[in-house]
């Protein structure tokens, strides 16, 4: 162990020196990374809560975000499929309402998937459950594509229509500078929402129900003896995952300012799976920490690729970094940063 730790520390030190000496704007990397990581974290938390309490790897978690976002967009467009949304016209409070609506839709979807599919496969192997969630994913994307057509639509951000902060020059400011990074109000909202979610989940897991939820998968028999119904726990887990999906959908679509069928799956799901493994797939705090770390890694590789001018021959450096990080974690600490030994 010890030589390995010394080796790791040495590699870390060298990397740190390279980073500090290089022109990479570290402040911006951390700020951007945290903001990106927060969106990933909302998806990763949904994956972790379902995996921890039911043992199911949920491939549909991304679409538990995209579909509510689409339905909310439909409401924004006044139920006119050909309509458009003027981001300026939506106040912060309106947006909050839409966000809560998305959460409600997500919860309904999560509970429905649990009831219609997952509960019926309770005795099946994890592979069968995984494939079932993949089929649900295809159904949801198909529904989105049929109803909303396979096209890219504009999606509003939080506080885009908020009153301007007047700068000294009299310009309208909807973003501010932090360590050289332009921070949108929307990103602040994402971080705030994540913080609220973390607090709520922490409180939940201190209650008896929460403890039972975490125990349901590891000791289903013991859990059922203590009066906890695995059925109810599965429903609760999928409800929470759906709600988190709704948050990830609306906030994520806001970050990208667009929405198209399968978007959250395409842009966030795989990163969220990576983050969940990174933090420890059976750890809720791990999902958040892993996501933020992955967000920072992504923005770091982006900046590094620009600084060292390698974008030409390494396409998509953040994705390459995510895969590399995953491999390293699997080799060095397979249970993840905060995960417990299985």
């Amino acid at each position: 162990m010890t030589p390995r730790r010394i080796g790791a520390a040495a590699v870390g030190l060298v990397l740190l020196v390279v980073l500090v000496v290089s022109d990479i704007p570290l402040g911006r990397v951390v700020v951007d990374g945290t903001l990106n990581g927060s969106v990933i974290a909302l998806v990763a938390l949904g994956i972790a809560v379902v995996y921890k309490s039911t043992g199911v790897l949920n491939f549909a978690q991304g679409e538990l975000g995209t579909l509510p976002a689409f339905l909310v967009l439909l409401v924004m467009m006044g139920f006119d499929l050909n309509g458009t949304v003027d981001p300026e016209a939506i106040s912060g409070w309106d947006m909050l309402g839409y966000l809560l609506l998305a959460v409600a839709i997500g919860i309904v979807l999560g509970v429905a998937i649990n009831g219609l599919v997952i509960r019926r496969l309770v005795d099946a192997s994890p592979v069968i459950s995984l494939v079932a969630t993949a089929a649900v994913f295809f159904l949801m994307v198909g529904f989105e594509a049929v109803v909303f057509l396979p096209q890219v639509r504009t999606f509003p951000r939080f506080l885009e229509g908020a009153p301007c902060l007047e700068s000294e020059a009299g310009e309208c400011i909807r973003q501010f500078q932090l360590f050289g990074s332009l921070v949108l109000w929307h990103a602040i909202v994402v971080v705030a929402v994540l913080a609220v979610v973390v607090v709520l989940l922490t409180l939940l897991f201190r209650t008896q129900v929460g403890v039972a939820l975490l125990a349901a998968s590891q000791e289903p028999f013991a859990a059922s003896l203590s009066g906890v119904s695995p059925r109810a726990m599965s429903m609760l887990a999928w409800g929470i995952a759906g709600g988190l999906g709704g948050l990830a959908g609306v906030l994520g679509a806001g970050v990208f300012q667009q929405l198209f069928p399968g978007m959250v799956t395409r842009d966030l799901l795989v990163l969220a799976f990576t983050a969940a493994v990174l933090g420890g797939i059976n750890s809720m705090p791990g999902a958040v920490v892993g996501s933020i770390l992955l967000g920072v890694t992504s923005s770091l590789t982006n900046e590094a690729a620009l600084t060292f001018d390698v974008t030409g021959w390494i396409p998509n450096p953040p994705m390459a970094a995510a895969f590399a990080v995953l491999l390293i974690v699997m080799v060095v600490r397979p249970r993840g940063l905060l995960g417990r030994e299985a």
């Binding site: 592979v127 079932a132 089929a135 491999l327």
Partner: protein, 356 residues
Amino acid sequence: MTDVLAEPIPIVIHELPPRERWRPSRAGVAARLIVLLGIGAFILASPHLIGVIRVNVLSTAATSVIVALSLNILIGYTGQVSLGHSAFLGMGAFTAGFVITTLELPWEAAVVASVLVGAGQALVIGVVALRVRGLYLALVTLVYAVFAERVLFNIEAITGGGGGIEATRPGWAFGDTAYAYLCIAAVAVVWLFDWRLTSSKAGRAIEALRDSERVAASWGINVTGFKLLAFVLSGAIAGLAGALFASVEQLISPLDFAFLGSVTFVMMAIFGGVGSRPGVVLGALIFSFLAFGLERFAEAFPDQPINASATPLVAALLVLIVLLYFPGGLAQLLRRPFRWLSFRPWRETEPAGGGE
């Protein structure tokens, strides 16, 4: 290691009673042979039945069948799952393209290279992901599939970037129909390989550990080693499928290997019924011809909205229905005909001697 057969369990108390095994009657054998020959003839005639214009659909379907069979070795026999087979297919295909077009070596060399690359990448990923219990292989391969789609396959020096790379067919199977026969022959080879695997030491060890890793280990089976072997064989066969796929249209691009393809491959195998060769092949064929069938349907009934773009929706519905009502897939639904065709009785239980 001592040769055990030299010192068998020493005592034989009495002569073993003869084992009565069920055998079909002469008429039963004839009936089965006729049906099997019919299926064989249909397969051999299929490139001509489908017509030369569309025969490439058949070749592509054959590559999907091979991928599904390769997944069967992993899912059906070990219980692990790979969501990275689109990348494995792509690695095989781009290796073939690189060997044929860039290195200007013959097609046969490309096939060997693709198989080796397929096995090699599975070895590396498997060593990392299979040491840990649980579905980590699914997660790591999923990320690998996305990494391959968005990074590896876009490296221009190797894959030609967005423009793609050519992979010319071998001279002796250059025509579309000839190439379709080549692909069908490859399916037969993989089928035979899989059959030998399941009826020898390695396959039995792998199937045993799917049921219970602890029991397998208690019988002296190196659990991680045989899981890794299954994954490496799966990767090698997927590499072969990639080499074949590359030369169907003789041009491949990164768009052919989107990571969602991996999920579709797994759905094919599960839909057919993992653990059953005929089931998996049938599942892959149905999936492969779904778009083709829906297209013909739309041509025949132009006034209704369903066409080939509904393929993923229809496929997902099929999978969900089968999983909810026949968790064993088509193989469960068709277990009686499958049993009958393998020269066993139509009914479930064989009348063997004795009983409890």
